[in-house]
């Protein structure tokens, strides 16, 4: 049996609901994008229904503690088809088995979900670390990113609490949406296609006068805090993988 869903969290939860409604036995969950018709398996298309999804979500909340709910959500944000499949299997077994099944790290789905969640949390933490704001001429602090996973929802609270007295924008160039904090609340924003190139790399003329000065100071600081005789490039690259260098002022 194959269940096809649209790739949303709601769809995923509905799939769990439908599975229990029908109990079709061994089932694979795939996204619409990934689905290829097969000759000898049955297909069921999951339709989204907020009520059903809510019910499953509430059920999960009863089964799982806060830490696991977070893991569940993080795993979903990885946007990986395998991760969705593991979440589906995990949810089904959670409702079937006695309480505490989520701690069975010998189970491949439990382990996989916690490992995906860990990867997403790592990416989230890296974004908190590697985002480098540039101050624009009109006073905004801007940074464009393209993280491996969809971590904007996870980092929102962190930046809101931290930069409460400045307007900032973090834009996910890969997924084409961003967050804007207007000194009061964080709003989701989307840039029309024709303006997108400006968000990739803000032109020097659109930045504030001080920006270049502080950028240089930071680069100098980065250089002078290094101890040359201890050079360890392998460790350096392990901590700051090369794909992030494009964000980093000190690496330009």
């Amino acid at each position: 049996m194959i269940y096809v869903f649209d790739g949303s969290l709601e769809g995923l939860l509905c799939a769990v609901y439908e599975w229990f409604e029908r109990k079709p036995g061994k089932t694979r969950l795939v996204t619409t994008a990934q689905y290829q018709p097969e000759a000898f398996t049955e297909v069921f298309e999951v339709l989204n229904d907020t009520k059903k999804a809510d019910r499953v979500w509430k059920g999960l909340q009863k089964k799982l503690d806060k830490g696991w709910m977070r893991r569940y959500y993080c795993c979903y944000l990885s946007e990986q088809p395998q991760a969705y499949a593991h979440l589906f299997e995990l949810s089904c077994s959670l409702f079937k088995e006695a309480a505490g099944a989520e701690n069975n790290y010998g189970d491949p789905h439990v382990l996989a979900v916690s490992q995906w969640a860990k990867k997403v949390e790592r990416e989230k933490h890296r974004m908190e670390a590697f985002i480098r704001f540039q101050q624009t001429a009109d006073g905004y602090f801007y940074c464009g990113i393209d993280p491996d996973f969809n971590v904007l929802p996870l980092i929102m609270g962190h930046f809101k609490a931290r930069y409460a007295d400045q307007q900032w924008i973090i834009y996910d160039l890969k997924r084409n949406y961003g967050l804007h904090y207007n000194l009061d609340e964080v709003r989701e924003i989307q840039v029309p296609a024709e303006d997108r190139h400006r968000f990739k790399k803000p032109a020097a003329s659109s930045l504030s006068e001080e920006e270049a000065h502080y950028g240089n100071l930071w680069k100098d600081y980065f250089k002078s805090t290094n101890i040359a005789v201890r050079k360890n490039t392998k460790l350096h690259v392990q901590h700051v993988p090369k794909r992030y260098w494009k964000y980093l002022t000190e690496k330009q």
Binding site: N103, Y105, F130, R162, L217, T225, R230, H239
Partner: protein, 418 residues
């Protein structure tokens, strides 16, 4: 003007880099005045230098003018280097602007001693007060306690700083006397004790009255230079253990001595810093703090030095083979922690997972233990039956044969200098 700040930053960051502490963890100071900055309990490393050390704080000296002449220090009086000093405003502006751009997690402010201890401490205090009170800055501040400064100043500073630290410099009193005759461990112990008492007192009061301000919420740390004087690893770790115990320190840092002077009392210029030894000391430190080892088990009169080719946990295990094999499916968490190749998070997962059935090798591998190392010390559901008992030397040879030490490429086989 701008250029001058740039020069100063170069000089004063360069002089501060030998202080290795860069942690920004342990403080959950909240941004409750709608200002700038919010503590992050776990700390954030914003970047890493090319030597692989993390950069989370703007680590600078207020000045590198110093009245002391400690042989191991770059800023010593007799050293012919460029000197500079920041003004209070300059430090505040740098910190605020770096923080606003998410370059840093906070400020690490230290200083050479100019005029006298109180004068220096008072300047440091002015910087942190300005940040906290005028700029509404709630980011992390790590402040050096200046030995010999008056208790009132240090106490006031504690109200604004997240962490305070004061360096032991040398692991033993005799080592310190050799290189810095003007200093003694007593200068360090007194302020460490004072601040510790205050921390405890404030915590007690906070339990009763919510509005009591935080006092050095991220605790205290210290640092020792290793490899400059002929101490054994045992001396170093016993000193560290005593300081952890007596002053509830959050961290002791071990900094491999980097030759910076021609002084006859010190290793020659151009000698490699003792990186492997430093790494082994940190491993021992972790074993003491997170794995339930007592320092005597790892370093004692019979074994005053750590093995350089294997890590201290493995070397303990090889000395205590009677403790093994440990049965993964029944042993206590504490005993699982002692198995080489199993870390804290794997041990926790194992304890959780075995409630659901006996664990097998493939499951252990997936959980993430380093099985090739651990297999000599464990028993699990499908461990192969072993006819022969291996000697510790044989096990060591097996493990070394299949592991690739990250140090082999720059293994300079450190010479014994003393």
């Amino acid at each position: 003007m701008l250029e001058r700040v740039r020069e100063k930053l170069k000089i004063l960051a360069d002089a501060a880099k030998y202080d290795v502490s860069c942690s920004s963890s342990g403080s959950k100071r909240k941004n409750d005045n709608n200002g700038l900055g919010n503590g992050h309990m776990g700390g954030i490393c914003h970047t890493y230098t090319e030597d692989g050390r993390c950069v989370s704080l703007l680590k600078i000296l207020l000045t590198n003018h110093c009245i002391f002449d400690c042989a191991y220090c770059v800023s010593r009086k007799s050293n012919d280097i460029e000197r500079a000093a920041f003004t209070v405003d300059e430090v505040v502006q740098l910190t605020m602007n770096f923080y606003r751009r998410n370059y840093i997690e906070g400020l690490f402010l230290s200083s050479g001693i100019f005029k006298n201890a109180d004068f220096t401490m008072e300047r440091l205090l002015r910087v942190v007060k300005k940040l906290r009170l005028e700029e509404r800055y709630n980011g992390y501040i790590h402040l050096k306690t200046i030995p010999g400064a008056s208790e009132e100043l240090i106490r006031e500073a504690g109200l604004y700083a997240d962490r305070m630290s004061i360096n032991l410099e040398m692991p033993t009193e005799s080592g310190l006397k050799l290189l810095a005759p003007e200093k003694s461990h007593q200068d360090v112990i007194k302020p460490l004790g004072d601040i510790q008492n205050q921390i405890v007192q404030f915590k007690e009061e906070r339990k009763l009255i919510k509005s009591v301000p935080q006092f050095v919420p991220a605790g205290q740390s210290t640092q020792m230079v290793i490899g400059a004087t002929p101490e054994t690893d045992k001396d170093i770790m016993h000193t560290a253990a005593a300081f952890y115990k007596n002053f509830s320190l959050r961290r002791v840092y071990y900094s491999g001595y980097i030759p910076i002077s021609n002084d006859k009392r010190l290793p020659l210029l151009g000698t490699q810093p003792p990186l492997i030894r430093e790494n082994r000391l940190y491993q021992t430190d972790w074993l003491m703090r997170f794995y339930g080892f007592h320092v005597n088990e790892l370093l004692n009169d019979a074994n005053p030095h750590l093995d350089m080719d294997i890590d201290p946990k493995l070397s303990w295990a090889l000395r205590n083979l009677q403790f093994f094999p440990v049965d993964i499916n029944v042993a206590s968490y504490q005993n699982i922690l002692r198995i080489p190749g199993i870390g804290v998070s794997s041990a926790k997962k194992i304890v959780q997972a075995r409630k659901f059935g006996k664990l097998r090798i493939d499951q252990l591998q997936k959980i993430g233990i380093s099985y090739n190392r651990a297999k000599h010390f464990i028993k699990c559901a499908d461990s192969p039956y072993q006819l022969k008992d291996y000697q510790s030397t044989q096990i060591k040879a097996f493990i070394l044969a299949e592991s690739q030490s990250k140090y082999l490429k720059n293994d300079s086989s450190q010479l014994i200098l003393f």
